[in-house]
Symmetry: C2
Subunit: 367 residues, 2 copies
Amino acid sequence: MLKFIVKRSDFAKKLSIAAQAVGAKTIDPILQCLLFKPENGGINMYSTDMQTFVIARVETGEYEGNDMFAVDAKLLEEIVKNVDEEEILLNYDGGKLRVKSGKSAFSLTTYASPEKFPPIDIEESGVNFEIETSILHEMIDRVIFCASTETAMRALNGVYWEIKNGYLRLVASDGYRLALSEQKIDINAELDFIISLKSMKELEGLVSGASEPVLKISCDHKKVSVKAGDITTIMRVVEESFPDYKRVLPQAFKTRITFNKNEFLEALKRTMIISKRGNDKVQLEMIDNILKLSSISSEYGEVSEEVLIEKEGEDMTINFNPRFLNEAVKKVDEEEVVFNFVDDLSPMQINSRDMGGYMFIVLPVRA
Amino acid sequence: MLKFIVKRSDFAKKLSIAAQAVGAKTIDPILQCLLFKPENGGINMYSTDMQTFVIARVETGEYEGNDMFAVDAKLLEEIVKNVDEEEILLNYDGGKLRVKSGKSAFSLTTYASPEKFPPIDIEESGVNFEIETSILHEMIDRVIFCASTETAMRALNGVYWEIKNGYLRLVASDGYRLALSEQKIDINAELDFIISLKSMKELEGLVSGASEPVLKISCDHKKVSVKAGDITTIMRVVEESFPDYKRVLPQAFKTRITFNKNEFLEALKRTMIISKRGNDKVQLEMIDNILKLSSISSEYGEVSEEVLIEKEGEDMTINFNPRFLNEAVKKVDEEEVVFNFVDDLSPMQINSRDMGGYMFIVLPVRA
């Protein structure tokens, strides 16, 4: 038996973070469950897909009984989201979990052997540091879209974390483009590792929903744990080496242009009406203070657009996948965006005017 | 050659209605095009999927040239939606359509033989009447969700129009439920026909976007034309007979309950958390002034909910597909909803307290 009362708002929030770490259809049905377990005078809620582990302390008052139980995560999440009273009574007894709130009464089947729930090693070890929640959220948001979605490319199907010289740097790349974001942190140690894209998305969920202003992170070569108040996410490190990304960072630039972000994005959007019906290419032609964007579809026709620019260096013509430009430029959160070119075959660097601790690299395509 | 200037806001609205009548991937590429044709001192825009025909008068000033042309509908719609100036110049010449607005310039391929665009018979004949746009919109919205989506059931895969005794009545049914909506109109004739679900959805698009307060409708046994200002939609009638729906309308009721719409919908939503994981059934049990909703899933557990009711007649227990109840009750646009029961195997009637010219019939399921 285990009987306790929760507040809907707090419980729903924790449930939605914990339920994210639950796999879709899994072979072992216990991985679709949340485990509730009385520990250290309170109740902890566990979930895992064997790669990411989430532990949340449930805010309850007094509780009765001392049994643990495991119940389908998505089912409980949906019930708690939809009941209309703030107070919810959970009562596990005789293999059934009774959930009562207002005039709603559920009696849910629980998993027969909750003790089979995978054990989690929450011992803190290795490197420890703190970071502002909003800063880590921004850093993740700026790089995660560049990670490869091909799970077979294990090293690129994730985000590279590099702790060095008092900085935390996140890097993601799919081989055609790269995103980098860095932040000064109070730490002397050096450490680097890869976190899978799936774990990163779960971490993003935790970080974006967290009301704690500061996160406590501890990591070693095996795992990373991120603690936001009474919710901890533990992620297994991907055992691969990240490619030497510094080799693709351009050094000397021949041409640099600065332009209004929204004007560029609007012109690019219209160019993409043709390019997506054609060969998915946009040509950028920079002459004096005009950037001409153009695209051709043999079946549907062609388009040209003009954007005013400030230019330093030589005129030039270069081709890109428009989607890569669109996604990177959108992440520059200033009014003005800078493109830095070496030549028409070399990686191009995108940044804000003041550099602001992040940049994007995009490879051009052939004409 | 044909050259004219349009205003973006008016043109975009007409384009989106005309583009709706364009088929998805069709065998004949001209059916994916819009035809622009100078006629009677102005330019008309045509589109069709051979079942629905749309003719819109394009608001232009003076125009030059007298050629017609056909261009991909979705392409032009997307361009016009995305240009950022209000004035758009269209210039058809030498097989190309040039579209210019601000700093955007498109040159689009056109269809080689625009004269092959299917001819449309717009002669008005048969029965003519007028109806308020907002009223027809509401009538369509109240019945269209009950139409069968199985295209093989040609008679039910549409909406039945019945003009009789000075009323227009729309009826739709998928064999398990039925929706009926009626409105007094100023007409003496009698006529009935079926319009396909696809045409009805296009008509709904026209009616919901129309700024004209009154529609002009003319119909015969072959086609119906609905005119909203300078846009006309002509729909071919489905050559099938609609089943005799009056036979399923319940006559004498044994039990009638009245309840708050939102309270019921909230309770039903929670019941569906279990029923969708189970056998898709909800049991309604009416005892005194309590309606108990319950559902069982052999795998996940069970739920019970209570809703306060006003009851006339006997206590009763009856089972339904919860989705059918949910969709019908949502369409009752009053605070209170009435369920009328004959017995646990007969069709149940749903209506608002004051009846308001519409009702829904839902067949129960076996326990």
